[in-house]
């Protein structure tokens, strides 16, 4: 018998699939964070990436509970279904949930129609997040951002350092070699940790399918009340200002990514199961952020927001 061939068969059987490799890497990262930081927190956006991240955290600390709280920055413009899902999900898995809202800005009337998406996000997301992190004295914030989401993220580290103002300096990041993460913080510094860095959108969907992970029903197609504005579908969650000639109509559609209801477009779709969603994604091949108005406001806008402290 050929020794080499037997050898290959043996090692072949000791090979993980790409999803299990990604999973193992993410679990390693989550455990490092818990071992090396005093007060970690997981940023929980209720979206599909957050769902995957929470499952990975359950796996990392099993049979124990997730040893850090989940933080949701609530702009108050989220979909009702998201909030319902959030509360049910966190209760079911026994996770500690912190909800933070920039009350002052809301009371001053911050909204995307008057301020524009950029400014509104600045107050309700970026500012609120930085305040919540400071208030909780969290030294490490775990986020679900992926490198394949957007060009400017391709060079993002798994451990991403932020200065005392929560800002990101692309020129001043530490090299990440092997799986050895340098967790030492300078005074006032904090870090964002991205355990899903190496996952793609397709990986995330496949993993949700493989693991049967609960996600917000908004991802699945059904007839919903929408305002049709040029090629965009805008959900009717609250009284959005209508332009002349516009009206609400029932459209078979779903959300490809979940943000605030006024700034998240829906797509026409029949995909009401996970395999159909994946199939649709393979066919359409449109980046998931296409329908978030925000990234198209300005070329490279995500990078600007990141420097300011948003993820």
């Amino acid at each position: 018998m050929d020794g080499k061939a037997t050898d290959n068969r043996m090692t072949e059987s000791l090979t993980l699939t790409h999803l299990r490799m990604l999973e193992a890497e993410s679990i390693h990262i989550l455990r490092e964070v818990v071992a090396e930081f005093q007060r970690p927190v997981m940023l929980y956006s209720i979206g599909k990436d957050s769902s995957v991240m929470v499952r990975l955290a359950q796996k990392a600390f099993y049979p124990g509970r997730i040893p850090f709280p989940l933080l949701h920055v609530d702009t108050t413009y989220k979909f009702r279904e998201m909030i319902e899902f959030r509360d049910r999900f966190c209760a079911e898995i026994g996770a500690k949930l912190i909800v933070h809202t920039n009350r002052a800005a809301i009371e001053a009337g911050a909204n995307p129609w008057d301020l524009g998406t950029q400014k509104c996000c600045g107050f309700l997301k970026t500012r609120a997040l930085l305040d919540a992190l400071a208030e909780g004295e969290f030294d490490a914030a775990i986020g679900g951002a992926r490198r394949d989401e957007e060009k400017s993220r391709a060079k993002e580290r798994v451990y991403s350092f932020r200065d005392p103002h929560g800002q990101w300096d692309p020129k001043n990041q530490r090299p990440e070699i092997w799986n050895l993460y340098n967790s030492r913080l300078n005074p006032g510094e904090s870090i964002r940790v991205f355990p899903l860095s190496n996952w793609t959108e397709l990986d995330v969907w496949q993993y949700i399918h493989l693991e049967n992970i609960p996600i917000v029903p908004l991802y699945f197609a059904k007839e919903r009340e929408m305002v049709v504005r040029r090629s965009s579908l805008i959900p009717v969650e609250r009284d959005i200002p209508l332009l002349p000639g516009e009206r609400k109509e029932l459209v078979m559609c779903r959300m490809r990514s979940l943000g605030c209801s006024p700034c998240t477009g829906a797509i026409r779709s029949d995909a009401d199961t996970l395999p159909k969603i994946i199939e649709e994604m393979m066919l359409f091949r449109r980046s998931e952020r296409e329908n978030r108005v925000i990234d198209f406001d300005q070329e490279g806008s995500m990078e600007i927001k990141k420097r300011e402290g948003y993820f």
Partner: protein
């Protein structure tokens, strides 16, 4: 909504296949303008990994558009600042997928000053693509790329000779480059070297075989990436499990969480805990998805042991028959990444597996010229320089040679003042001149046939190591007291070489005696080490300065011993 069932079963089948895919990580290196961005763009585009809207965003952002032809390089260019400078200055990660494998590309720039970036990208890669411009041939940069790839332990190197369209797809040009590169690479350890002529711009030999080069009988680049055998690159022979966390959610469960570094681990396997040297067996390997019959790299699992041994973060589970080197002195290669050069007078922090220890570089053996591979004497290493050094660490590391084990053979060095990561290190060996007691102990534990309990029965009391923070004078006074009370005793006075003292102390205690070690604060490292190695019930730590007289100190020791039930037989 009348979806034909065949299509659904089609997508289900697709999903099942997709979920079985393997992962290959590779890095691309080339000098400026060799066509690296074009190649990556081509791979992403042709593998349909590029989403439509990213393409349209590019059309909007294009500044110096090449007429007609699509500029693939723009697909991969990232940050604003870099776009303004027009160069890539950091490691970028990109993703694409084919029906056979998922790929992660570490895209690293090829400028002289960026050895650091290439080492970073190479550290996790299975394979490296070295790009060469067919018109320029093998440049010193190409040699450097091959050297760093081999240094970082990459088994598979693909030399892509690019821009073949500009040299009339000449076989002769290709052959010349191959033989020149091969003769240089012969000095390096690259088990698998593959050459391929391509045109990144026109797509020759990228995804499909080129009709322009019928003389080339190898596979296309993508085909090679999809089929190169990587499974056996990992080390399955020596089990190493660095403990990340102790999970203790309730009274019934105590498990050690970590990621398998190498080897295979099964329930029932004997394991030794380092540094304590205690042994036990694997009771079970727990995961969220149920217990598993075996764990292998890179699985993240939780290991439960049969016995209640003391294990904490930074410890390592290893097979008693094949332990790694346990040492406080290592020979290593460093890739210096700090802006300030290596300073032999300074202390650094080494992060190795899940341990962080203080360390100092004793001396630099030599620096390697990355272009010629020449060894040069050096008194410092600066940014992007590579050298071989001898390092002393304050507590022992459990290391293997990097060639054998990419996880237990690697470490990073951190500057404790700036907190910057200043070096990537690869263990080449442990310094043979530095004997470490822990190694002797590990070996002796294998051969020893007399159980400690038998020794204790003959002597009449259990063995104890008394670590006395005080001078020899005091130690002998304490000994005399203890001896009179019926204990069998021995004093180890401070030695110039701390590790010799520690070795003597461990040996005497192993022989069954109440061993009194007289050591002051200068031996703090040895004290920590002794404490880590000894069973807590057999280690007494006493600060003699707290007592007015030797008699008082002796009384305190006797009380401590009695408190632990260690009393002489006939008293």
């Amino acid at each position: 909504m009348s979806q034909p069932t065949e299509i659904l079963s089609g997508i289900d089948q697709f999903l099942r296949r997709e979920e079985e895919k393997e992962l290959l990580r590779f890095l691309t290196c080339g000098s400026v303008d060799d066509g690296k961005s074009t190649l990556i763009g081509r791979l992403l585009y042709d593998s349909k990994g590029v989403y439509e809207d990213q393409l349209s965003a590019i059309t909007k952002a294009t500044v110096n558009e090449t007429a007609g032809a699509m500029d693939f390089a723009l697909l991969t260019d990232g940050l604003r600042a870099e776009r303004e400078q027009g160069i890539t200055i950091d490691v970028a990660y990109r993703y694409f997928s084919t029906p056979k494998r998922k790929f992660i590309i570490a895209d690293t720039p090829g400028h002289e000053q960026y050895t650091r970036n290439m080492a970073t990208g190479a550290s996790t890669a299975n394979l490296a693509i070295v790009l060469i411009d067919a018109r320029n041939g093998v440049l010193s940069q190409s040699r450097r790329h091959a050297f760093i790839a081999s240094l970082l332990g990459i088994h598979h190197v693909v030399v892509a000779v690019n821009k073949m369209d500009l040299v009339d797809y000449s076989e002769e040009v290709f052959d010349r480059i191959c033989s020149e590169f091969s003769s240089f690479a012969a000095q390096l350890q690259i088990p698998d070297l593959y050459f391929i002529p391509v045109s990144a711009l026109l797509g020759d030999n990228i995804v499909t075989k080129s009709e322009n080069m019928p003389w080339f009988d190898g596979a296309s680049l993508l085909h090679h990436l999809e089929t190169v055998h990587i499974a056996s690159d990992r080390n399955f022979s020596e089990m190493r499990f660095p403990v990340q966390l102790v999970l203790r959610p309730n009274q019934e469960f105590r498990g050690y969480a970590g990621q398998m570094a190498s080897g295979v681990l099964k329930p029932g396997d004997p394991v030794m805990v380092l540094p304590s040297g205690r042994t036990s067996r694997v009771k079970s390997i727990a995961t969220y998805d149920g217990e598993v019959a075996r764990a292998f790299p890179p699985m993240s699992v939780t290991v439960c042991l049969d016995d209640e041994v003391d294990v904490s973060r930074g410890n390592m589970l290893v097979p008693p028959s094949h332990p790694p080197h346990v040492t406080r002195c290592i020979d290593a290669r460093l890739v210096w990444m700090g802006n300030q050069p290596l300073d032999l007078r300074r202390q650094y922090i080494i992060k190795h597996t899940t341990q962080s220890v203080k360390a100092q570089v004793r001396f630099i053996r030599y620096r390697v010229n990355v272009n010629t591979l020449e060894r040069q004497p050096a008194s410092e290493l600066s940014l992007n320089e590579i050298g071989t050094v001898v390092i002393d660490t304050h507590s022992p590391l459990f290391v293997d040679q990097y060639r054998r084990n990419r996880i237990t053979g690697s470490f990073v060095m951190v500057d404790p003042v700036s907190n910057a990561t200043v070096a990537a290190g690869m263990v080449t060996g442990r310094d043979p001149r530095a004997a470490d007691p822990a190694v002797a102990e590990v070996q002796a534990a294998e051969l020893n046939r007399i159980p400690a309990a038998d020794r204790q029965r003959r002597i009449g009391h259990a063995a104890v190591l008394v670590w006395l923070n005080g001078g020899a004078h005091l130690a002998y006074a304490v000994e005399s007291e203890l001896f009179q009370r019926g204990y069998l005793t021995h004093v180890i006075a401070a030695q110039t070489d701390g590790s010799v003292m520690l070795e003597l102390a461990l040996n005497m205690t192993a022989a069954g005696l109440v061993t009194i070690c007289a050591a002051d604060f200068l031996y703090e490292v040895e004290r920590e080490r002794a404490q880590a190695l000894m069973d807590p019930s057999q280690f007494v730590d006493l600060d003699a300065s707290l007592f007015a007289s030797p008699e008082e100190a002796a009384r305190a020791v006797t009380e401590k011993l009695a408190g632990r039930g260690i009393t002489p037989a006939d008293h």
